[in-house]
Amino acid sequence: MLKHHLFWPLSVLGALLLFNLLYAPEFFSIIMRDGHLYGSLIDILNFGSPLIIVAIGMTLVIATKGIDLSVGSVVAIAGAIACLTISQGDGQNAISLVLIAIGIALVLSIILGVWNGFLVAGIGMQPIIATLILMVAGRGVAQLITDGQIITVSNEPYKYIGSGSLATLPFSIFIVAALFLVASILTRKTSLGLFIESVGCKPEASRLAGIRSKTVMFAVYMFCGLCAGIAGLILSSNVSSADGNNAGLWYELDAILAVVIGGTSLNGGRFYLMGTLIGALIIQTLTTTIYMIGVPPEITLVVKAIVVLIVCLVQSESFRKTLISRWKTRHYPAESEVKQHA
């Protein structure tokens, strides 16, 4: 059981929830009000949904031994272009306008993904650098779109994406569920996941084995861009405004963290979507817990840093070995001898 890839993420999440159970039992209470469910657990799912979506895209990118630093900027650009389209169109509450805005934003974020894919797969640039370009320039583009201002929109259908509710649950949860299902089915029920993992192990070898490794990489970066775009829509619709400067700030880092906590190695070749989901939930639960137990919000970052370090250390093979060798103070030369020969 210790060997199972979900063991450590699940125990961290379990420990967090247990802590909450002991510290503040009302954490688990869910109440019904006006036909909507309210409660900390629902909040975690609701506010965590953009992060989960970005992290799903990031998982696939990291599985191909890549990394996408530009997701935060894409989040900002998607929100900015959607809000700009709505604020400039007439008939503020028209649903067609919202659909057009969503369409433009998603197409644009796919194009940005194509750009990343082109740099990585087409030109053969190192992923961390290729996406660094869009990370730096993208924030500028987002500010260019919003003209450096915060665009506020008052559009009911648009607001529904981020803060509406369906069947008593926040609508964003359904978006996450749909995306997660699609991603899992595509990668686990078709051979696509195998292709991605094979490209992550060795692109050249998988190309020789008949996999179009460049196409796979292209697709993965496009998918990651699309995910970031969806997250950008949810985030901006949640607050009904687009801020080119601060929207999605540090999202790339949180998403990478979620992926790493979930057990996916940054070295590529293996990925766990479920682990990523749990990783993102850990991050969100941690944030909520920190707020709830009355730690001043300014210490959130310190606690987050410490938890990240602990999670990474626990997952580190050499750290565990060091600990175990400390515990085993007595040495049995014969034992190691046997192991050596075995």
Binding site: K65, Q126, L132, L144, V260, E298, L301, K304, L309, C312
Partner: protein
Amino acid sequence: MLKRQYIPILVTIGLFALMFTIGSFRYTGFFSLQVILNLLIDNAFLLIAAVGMTFVIVSGGIDLSVGSMIALTTMVSASLVQAGWPPQLVIPLVLTIGSLFGWGMGAVIHYFKIQPFIVTLAGMFLARGLCYVISINTITIDNAFYTSVAQTKVNLPGQNFISISVIIAMLVVFLGIYMAHYTRFGRNTYALGGSEQSSLLMGLPVGRTKMTVYMFSGFCSALAGVVFTFYMLSGYGLHAMGMELDAIAAVVIGGTLLTGGVGYIVGTFFGVLIQGVIQTIISFEGTLSSWWTKIVIGILLFMFILLQRLFSGRSWVHRR
């Protein structure tokens, strides 16, 4: 004969000259020594941080904690000075904190074999968080020593001047060049970035070099923080937001390969100057907004990476 390995760095210098020439023809008052000196005055802290970052990147790692370390330094300095500590004590203290912080990250990276990206990311969160633990507000500094350092102008011939920060920055650059090319530590760093496995087999002190590299980067960030304190005369948790990216961009524009093993401090120096020139041109233009800086730097990054790919013989697809 021109060595192939010098081409990226010459292109960097050429681009700087080209941009400066374009600026000089386009705007009156652009062509003067003082404009160049102002580039140094305004970017002294970035220069110092980028020198440390160059060593980390040459060794094959990355340090994301630079910006938040600068903020933490301004915060610690400001609060201690406000509490009545003498600056002669505060400055060595923050430099020690920075070095120890970097050394700690290096140790975790080396001993527990966790990617530098993640460890320094945690370091970034930690340092930024500690800033807010100290205070969430701006702490101003009205200490006589700090204000006098901030206002001192070192006169140069021809009515030009530089600030003390520039002198510190230039000393760091020269120290960096010396360390990189004339010491055993520098050679070990290049070897480590070339191939960690080979350096280990060659018997180089891989662990010590790695930790020293991160320690030096931490020291540089703390020193950059001190210079930043002179520049801003305040401590604030949001200072130097995203500066690690500026530093990485400067290093890349300067011709250093992110895969490690190849790079020059001089290139980083011009990388910082190029970023400064872009900002100066945008401010001379007047009508262009500041976000164009980010877009132009992004385009430049793109061009330089393409260029490196053309000139560097090695294939660096998926090497990290």
